[in-house]
């Protein structure tokens, strides 16, 4: 383990240390939000939150709680920095994807504070890789102001049911329309592409529907290009909650089980497509 090669002096200088026996427990979940190069890291006593944003209309967050890590030391209330996520993922997967069971990459992630690079120590099969990734000052993530009191409609589905629909979505459609209603069609995904319109209906009494709380009929459209990346999070997850609020803002929350069966969360927030409002 790379831990043994570091002295106490090295360890003392870091304000954040997070270690994993299996780096995939971090890299897999980060891949689910890796649609842009830059990610904002925010670490607290509770764990790590990683945010990626797109054109101020889409925000994805990955939450990895402190107890997922085999070692988690934080010496300040919050530690924040911004880093190139693509580079980080290349580093986390430096040894490639091992298909041999029981063989995985161990990770120790360290940060000295403002102005210092993010340092990764990775080890697999006795080979050690050290990465120093430059950091920038973290931008303030957008606050989508999505709170439970404004939620008009909410469903929780088993991800399997949505995976098929999302993999087949007509990409020639500029928007994905979501209809939620206390009566038929209950929960409907619609696309309007070159080959025509397509609808995916999920009735409220379906086996896949774990929770159905719809108070009023609501139809909103979201840019397909913004939502498409969420498919990666869907693919990793076992359950997803879909909520819309009075403004038509969308919140998708994914429950992800990592290699060791531990639970992490990924959420996506998306603004409705403005054009529709004018109709």
């Amino acid at each position: 383990m790379p831990l043994s090669t570091q002295s106490q002096a090295d360890i003392d200088q870091y304000i954040l240390i997070a270690s994993l026996d299996n780096a995939r427990n971090l890299s897999n979940i980060l891949k689910a939000i890796s649609f842009r190069d830059h990610a904002i890291f925010n670490a607290t006593q509770n764990g790590l939150k990683v945010t990626v944003e797109d054109s101020k209309c889409l925000q994805a967050n990955a939450f990895i709680q402190a107890d997922i890590f085999q070692e988690y030391i934080i010496k300040e209330d919050t530690v924040g920095f911004q880093v190139n996520l693509t580079v980080l993922l290349d580093c986390l997967t430096i040894f490639g994807g091992s298909t041999v069971p029981g063989v995985c990459t161990a990770l120790r992630m360290c940060y000295n504070g403002y102005g210092y690079p993010l340092t990764l120590f990775l080890e697999e099969g006795g080979v050690v890789t050290v990465c120093k990734i430059n950091t920038q000052e973290p931008e303030e993530p957008i606050d989508f102001d999505f709170c439970s009191t404004n939620v008009t409609n909410k469903v929780i589905l088993q991800s399997d049911s949505l995976k098929e629909a999302f993999s087949e979505l007509d990409m020639t459609s500029e928007v994905l329309q979501i209809t939620m209603s206390p009566s038929h069609p209950y929960f409907r995904l619609s696309t309007f592409g070159n080959s025509g319109n397509a609808h995916y209906d999920y009735p409220k009494d379906s086996d896949m529907m774990e929770l159905f709380q719809c108070t009023k009929i609501q139809t909103s459209r979201y840019k397909m290009s913004l939502l498409k990346p969420s498919t990666k999070a869907l693919a990793l997850s076992c359950k997803v909650s879909v909520r819309t609020d009075s403004r038509g803002f969308l919140s998708l929350q994914y429950l992800v089980r990592n290699d060791d069966g531990q639970i992490c969360f990924v959420e996506y927030y998306c603004c409705p497509d403005e054009e529709v409002e004018e109709e």
Binding site: V87, D90, C91, G96, E124, V127, V128, T129, V130, C131
Partner: protein, 283 residues
């Protein structure tokens, strides 16, 4: 000039195919040098290939059941042909399950290597698939370009780490940087390093072992060379990755020689094939 050869063993055919596939991944054009005992695929370092050169040597007897060669002249009993290995690769692909494969130097509208594969068929009559691969005969006055490369006066010779790991690391590093520094010492330690504005990455390999070149080697290092002292060379990552990715033949021995800041010399040895690849340092 005459050349005809035949492969009848399916294992030999597959092995030969894999070697040709490996060569075709490394270069679009090369010279096929035929002698009584060996075949060589040669790429001599030119500006066009980015200074990279390759020497792949096969013992003819381990592949061919029949091998007849009449070279250019009695005292120059060799034939050198410029060929696109991809063409040979494609022809061999159709010959995958052949009962026999014959290769012959022929003259159609121009010089060709004609490959005839006898394929199994349900009827009593075999099907024969023929490929005419165009080649250019290299005149004798140019042969000096394609001689066996001399072992460079290297500073360090070291066995490579497991290829799977090496390849994964180089693949990822290629996403991050165009150039890579490879350094190694006589203590069996090797480091791969990249350093850019965005990131620096170093991978440390240990306990690799150093080949015992001994008396016949041209190891320039004096007996008193500090085993911890690293020698390094900075190369274009794509060239290294191209070499590692192309490999279809799993070598029994893989090693490299480093001439400090000048050349990375990679050697892959197999029972009946040896492959040498020279990557010059980036200017």
């Amino acid at each position: 000039m005459k050349f005809r050869a035949k492969i009848i063993d399916v294992g030999c055919l597959n092995h030969f195919t894999r070697v040709v596939n490996t060569v075709s991944r490394l270069t679009k054009a090369c010279v096929l040098r035929l002698t009584c005992d060996h075949l060589y695929f040669v790429l001599s370092g030119r500006v066009a290939s980015g200074g990279v050169s390759m020497w792949c040597e096969l013992s003819q007897g381990n592949f061919f059941d029949e091998f007849q060669l009449e070279g250019v002249s009695a005292d120059a009993n060799e034939i050198l042909l410029e060929v696109a290995p991809e063409n040979l690769s494609r022809a061999l692909k159709t010959a995958q399950n052949a009962k026999s494969v014959k290769i012959k130097l022929t003259k159609k509208s121009s010089a060709c290597l004609t490959l005839a594969a006898e394929l199994p068929s349900l009827s009593s009559v075999s099907r024969v698939v023929t490929h005419d691969i165009p080649v250019d005969v290299i005149p004798r006055r140019l042969w000096h370009d394609f001689r066996e490369p001399q072992m460079p006066d290297f500073d360090v010779s070291i066995y490579l780490p497991p290829l799977k790991t090496l390849k994964s690391v180089v693949d990822r590093m290629k996403n991050l940087s165009n150039s890579l520094v490879l350094e190694a010492n006589l203590n069996g330690e090797m480091n791969l390093k990249i350093d850019t504005d965005l990131v620096s990455v170093t991978t440390h390999f240990k306990d690799l072992g150093n080949p015992p070149w001994g008396d016949d080697g041209s190891q320039s290092s004096s007996p008193h060379r500090d085993p911890e002292l690293m020698t390094e060379v900075c190369v274009d990552i794509r060239k290294l990755q191209q070499f590692l990715t192309g490999q279809q033949v799993h070598p029994s021995r893989a090693m490299c020689n480093i001439v400090d800041r000048r050349i990375l010399h990679l050697i892959f040895l197999h029972e009946d094939v040896s492959l040498q690849y020279f990557i010059p340092a980036l200017a």
